[in-house]
């Protein structure tokens, strides 16, 4: 089983949930405004696996969980994930209330944002976790989360929003790191294998690149043409 490099952002999740519990404040987690229908689907799925992990921690520590959602069709998915997590931790009574923890806000971007900001201001979460596809609302959520006093851990693969998470949150997951999160947190050998798979993918990218550069410099353009087609 390969030993994984430390990802401080992911290690911090448990502590953040613990801190929220001590302060008797809720934990807010969201999966972004991407859905499952387009190129951002992988980011949403990465966010859902984070929901599972955080829900389990909340069940274990007894923290209140709030999961704002943008797409109506993600609501049943998140509800079931949270229900399963609470059940597996033996909190069947709370599990039955999973439906109340997931809040459908609105599927239009900024009315989702306005309601989300309202939640952050009124509920004053102790921990605020965002993993998934975020757009212009990223900085608004992060800044208001900060003023609410939450420990914030955020990650996205939308390159233009990463800088805001890096600047405004306590921990940021950059691009690919959100895809490694599920495997990293599960500490399960099969899952770690998939992280190794990601590394192999990057190795392939590196080899293609170096080989291409050398061939190109040597005047062989066939390889480049092949990749372009």
């Amino acid at each position: 089983m390969p030993k994984l490099r430390k990802l401080p952002g992911l290690d911090a999740v448990e502590e953040a949930v613990g801190r929220a519990t001590e302060m008797a404040r809720p934990v807010v987690i969201s999966t972004g405004i991407g859905g499952l229908t387009d190129v951002t689907a992988p980011q949403t799925i990465a966010g859902l696996s984070m929901v599972g992990y955080v829900a389990r921690l909340c069940a274990r520590y007894g923290a209140r969980l709030i999961a704002p959602a943008r797409m109506p069709y993600v609501v049943p998915v998140e509800t079931e994930i949270i229900q399963t997590a609470f059940n597996e931790e033996g909190k069947t009574e709370e599990a039955a209330r999973a439906g109340d923890m997931v809040q459908y806000l609105s599927d239009s971007q900024f009315s989702y944002t306005i309601a989300y900001l309202g939640i952050l201001r009124r509920e004053k979460p102790g921990a605020h976790i965002m993993v998934g596809g975020y757009w212009a609302e990223s900085l608004q959520l992060a800044e208001v989360g900060f003023t609410a006093g939450a420990v914030q851990i955020a990650g996205t693969a939308n390159t233009h929003q990463i800088p805001f998470f890096v600047a405004a949150c306590d921990y940021a997951l950059i691009g690919e790191e959100i895809y490694a999160a599920g495997a990293y947190l599960s500490k399960d050998p099969v899952q770690s294998g998939s992280v190794a798979g990601q590394d192999i993918g990057k190795a392939i990218a590196l080899i293609l690149m170096v080989l291409g550069i050398i061939l190109n410099a040597a005047g062989v353009t066939y390889f480049l043409q092949l990749l372009r087609s």
Binding site: L36, I45, G52, Y104, V190, G201, K202
Partner: protein
């Protein structure tokens, strides 16, 4: 019964659709491409259906808030307002669709008025609120706590000056060198950094896709882990 409840059938469905969609992009086979485009419109129908269900979801949520209201807290009134308005506005839209016999509810002038004067106004107001948060972030978050943070801060400041209409006044005769530095930042490290992140993220997304298609990642079907 329990057989149908199992997740294998949905996973097979997901995998099959995904495979055909990928196949149709890289191999121009007409049948596959037709399947892919049909599937996309079907998915649109399904998604739009869930959007209508969103009204039920939000109504249920706010009904709960009205029922659980505490004495002294009047915010439940807003929940009543929301339920009334959402139902009324939706029905107005349906009326607009049916009366104009077109897919666009904005053919109804009342529906369109509310949309442009409330929805569009709030859209632009919320979006532009970023100006405030950019400023507060500049004040509190951009601090040279570490060497890395200092680099981040410097490069942000340089590009901001570069973009400001009066920016290069400050540099006087060195304005041209300053512009060259800014362009170098944008064309070399900025481009290379985001390119590296994009390639890495693509690898991550593809590997997640493979996990979904092999049924190892089933979070989207409500499985905890």
């Amino acid at each position: 019964m329990s057989f149908y409840k199992r997740k294998e059938i949905p996973i097979l469905l997901t995998t099959f659709i995904a495979l055909v969609m990928i196949f149709s992009t890289f191999f121009k086979v007409k049948a596959a491409q037709d399947f892919a485009s049909t599937m996309q419109t079907w998915v649109l129908v399904i998604v739009n259906f869930t959007v209508i269900l969103g009204i039920v979801m939000i109504t249920r949520m706010h009904k709960g808030r009205i029922e659980k209201r505490k004495p002294g807290d009047n915010s439940w009134i807003f929940s009543v307002w929301l339920i009334v308005l959402v139902v009324f506005y939706f029905l107005l839209g349906v009326y607009g669709v049916e009366s104009s016999r077109s897919a666009t509810p904005t053919r109804n002038p009342a529906f369109a008025w509310v949309y442009t004067n409330i929805n569009v106004a709030l859209d632009s107001a919320m979006y532009s609120m970023l100006a405030f948060f950019i400023s507060s972030a500049a004040f509190r978050a951009f601090k040279a706590r570490t060497k890395e943070a200092a680099v981040l801060l410097l490069s942000a400041a340089v590009i901001m000056l570069y973009n400001a209409p009066a920016g290069s006044v400050i540099f006087g005769p060195l304005a041209e060198q300053f512009n060259a530095l800014s362009e170098w930042i944008l064309n070399v490290p900025n481009m290379a950094g985001f390119r590296g992140i994009l390639i890495g993220a693509a690898v991550g997304a593809i590997s997640l896709g493979i996990r979904v298609m092999t049924g190892r990642e089933r979070g989207y079907l409500g499985a905890g882990e």
